[in-house]
């Protein structure tokens, strides 16, 4: 009996599909590539054009003005480390890459997460998909991403999004399921239209959990962006890869710590920016 007949190779079916996509939708993927490259290029140029000390000073000032002094100190220390470690360019590339990846991940995950909290059937349907996205080793996404978008930053971003969407989506669903029922009833009883209920009741109540989701999304994206150094995405990932291949302990460690600095910076900044607005809103009404 030939057991080979029972062998299952999803790759055998997936590879032709990827090929087919590649040949038939090439202009589309090309446009996606161009668009992402353009946005990334813009962010990078903005971060790298001025001298590093200007960027550091500006970011520190923004944090102090809009968020808190504590966040501004964290910002200054994190960015100064990236500069002193001699990894300024790579750090800014990574910052741009993660920012774009997170923005896209959140804009996909947030609406889908709300849908999943409204429709239990939809949630049941996407749950296994999310499980697959989270547990398949991230290297595996890189293969089709590179096949379609070729080497560079775009496949890295795509793979990062695949990795960043599930935590944000799950926590969005959780956040919306946790909105107190009595607040929803209040919205209905006061005759609020669904839009008002969403923006004035649900999203504010869900914010703490949504911030946890955003934090997870940022950290996982950052982890993935580093892996993406393998496919030529540049940035700190490339430095880590270089440190590994050359067995340079110093470079690897510096790049690794710079990644931590960027992670802390992004987390505090995003949290502060989203929560800070609320406390400022409170201050306005006191007079």
């Amino acid at each position: 009996m030939n057991l080979d007949l029972f062998e299952f190779s999803p790759g055998a079916y997936l590879a032709p599909a990827v090929d087919w996509l590649n040949t038939n939708f090439h202009p589309f993927f090309d446009a996606v590539t161009k668009f992402i490259e353009m946005v990334l290029g813009g962010i990078e140029a903005g971060l790298l054009y001025p001298p590093p000390y200007v960027v550091i000073a500006l970011a520190t000032f923004l944090a102090a003005y809009f968020i808190t002094v504590r966040v501004s100190i964290v910002t200054a220390v994190a960015l100064a480390f990236c500069f002193v470690a001699g990894l300024w360019t790579a750090s800014m590339q990574t910052l741009g890459l993660v920012t774009v990846a997170v923005v896209i991940s959140v804009s996909i995950a947030f609406p889908l997460g709300i849908l999943a909290s409204r429709y239990k059937g939809f949630e049941a349907g996407i749950r296994p998909v999310l499980d697959i996205m989270q547990t398949v080793p991230p290297w595996v996404y890189l293969i089709p991403a590179v096949m379609i978008f070729s080497l560079g930053r775009v496949p890295a971003i795509i793979a990062t999004i695949v990795y960043g969407v599930p935590p944000m989506l799950r926590l969005t669903t959780l956040a919306f399921n946790q909105v107190p029922k009595d607040l929803l009833e209040l919205g209905q009883a006061t005759g609020a239209p669904p839009r008002s209920i969403l923006f004035k009741i649900e999203i504010p109540s869900a914010t703490p959990t949504l911030l946890v989701g955003l934090n997870q999304c940022i950290l996982l994206s950052l982890a993935m962006v580093v892996l993406a150094g393998l496919v030529g995405a540049g940035g700190l990932g490339a430095e880590v890869t270089r440190g590994l291949t050359r067995m340079e302990m110093g470079l690897g460690l510096r790049a690794g710590l710079a990644i931590v600095a960027i992670a802390i910076l992004l987390d505090r900044f995003s949290k502060g920016a989203l929560q800070g607005r609320r406390t400022r809103g409170a201050a306005e009404t006191t007079h």
Partner: protein, 363 residues
């Protein structure tokens, strides 16, 4: 704003034979009720459906405070949510201001909730990220009222409930009683004719609760609002309500004024409730007095015209005072200058104790 003459008998809310049935087979159960008039027990047996509200009929007039009293699970919370269609009725009609609530489309329903029916919740349901003022203005905000105007209206509503100095605070800085005042101000700010109160004071301590009960009644009356007030506390219902409906297992057992319910309980369930209630300020002269002729027959030695006099609305407390002042054990009840009845000491004691009316054989 110009309003038509306020007819105090105008019916604002009218419920006719309203049912609410919960469960997977609710539609079949509803059909069975409509066709065959099944009872609650049969519905649970045959369809495994729970009846939340069973054949409830009531009406609320303009300016009236209508209390619905029942223990948990009696269907009172379901009933109040049927009035503004937070819950869809299974059967029966609910008319608010002459409009059949079930026939309103989504936009009309929102408009009715925003303009005609306010609601105050047991859990208060204040938005934690908004100040007291912004919370009070919430109803106006979702209706699209401009910021300055809605804040002005909300501030006025907060003044009415005594929170003018707290507008910039956040809900978590307020005590439970104050939070509930904000809830009331939020409902009042939208200036609805009807306010639905879903056990608003249940979670408060007794002293604050009494204070809020009195304030609520006074405020509602002075603003000319109608209210449907849910409570599990008969004393609260008596303090607040013009009329009281008593619910048990989804059925309205009795509707009446506090005095009617206390003096003529419809069944054992109601009389059990009423047993612990102090009747001194509830029972009035007209319900304990006996006809003049009967008094003359049993007390020939007394001259009715010489008795101390009082009105038919004097409560037992006042009657006791009068009896103590006089040297006779009876008080004459006078309406429009003529004596319409006599309250004897025996009748007073009966009124206080709530024992049924029967004169002893040898008087």
């Amino acid at each position: 704003m110009k309003t038509a003459m306020n007819d105090s008998n105008e019916v604002l809310i009218d419920c006719q034979n309203v049912w609410k049935i919960f469960g997977a087979r609710a539609p079949a159960a509803i059909q069975a009720v409509a066709d065959r008039g099944l009872s609650k027990k049969q519905i649970l047996q045959d369809f495994n459906c729970v009846v939340g509200v069973s054949d409830a009929s009531l009406h609320v007039r303009r300016g009236e405070i209508f209390c619905i009293m029942g223990l948990s699970g009696s269907g009172k919370s379901t009933l109040i949510r049927l009035l503004n269609r937070l819950i869809e009725p299974s059967l029966g009609t609910i008319t608010v201001k002459g409009k059949d609530v079930a026939r309103l489309n989504a936009a009309q329903l929102r408009d009715m909730r925003a303009r005609n029916i306010g609601m105050v919740f047991q859990s208060v349901a204040l938005l934690p990220n908004r100040t007291v003022l912004e919370n009070a203005a919430f109803g106006l905000e979702v209706r699209g009222v401009a910021k300055d105007e809605r804040h002005k209206t909300a501030r006025a509503a907060l003044e009415k409930v005594g929170l003018a100095d707290w507008t910039a605070r956040y809900p978590n800085e307020l005590s439970g009683g104050m939070q509930q005042r904000v809830g009331l101000a939020r409902a009042l700010a939208a200036d609805p004719e009807i306010i639905l109160m879903d056990e608003p004071f249940s979670a408060l301590d007794p002293l604050i609760r009494r204070q809020l009960q009195d304030e609520f009644r006074q405020l509602t009356k002075s603003l000319g609002k109608s209210a449907v007030f849910i409570t599990h506390d008969l004393e609260e219902a008596i303090r607040i309500g013009d009329r009281i409906a008593i619910m048990k297992d989804g059925v309205i057992v009795q509707v009446g004024t506090a005095e009617e319910i206390v003096t003529k309980p419809a069944d054992d369930y109601v009389s059990d409730f009423v047993a612990g209630i102090s009747r001194i300020h509830l029972v009035k002269a007209h319900s304990v007095m006996q006809p003049v002729a009967k008094f003359r027959a049993s007390h020939p030695q007394h001259d009715v015209e010489a008795l101390l006099r009082t009105s038919p609305d004097a409560d037992i407390g006042e009657l006791i005072d009068l009896t103590m002042q006089s040297n006779r054990d009876a008080v004459a009840v006078v309406e429009n200058g003529t004596v319409i009845g006599v309250v004897t000491t025996r009748a007073l004691l009966r009124g206080v104790a709530g024992t049924p009316e029967h004169e002893p054989a040898a008087a």
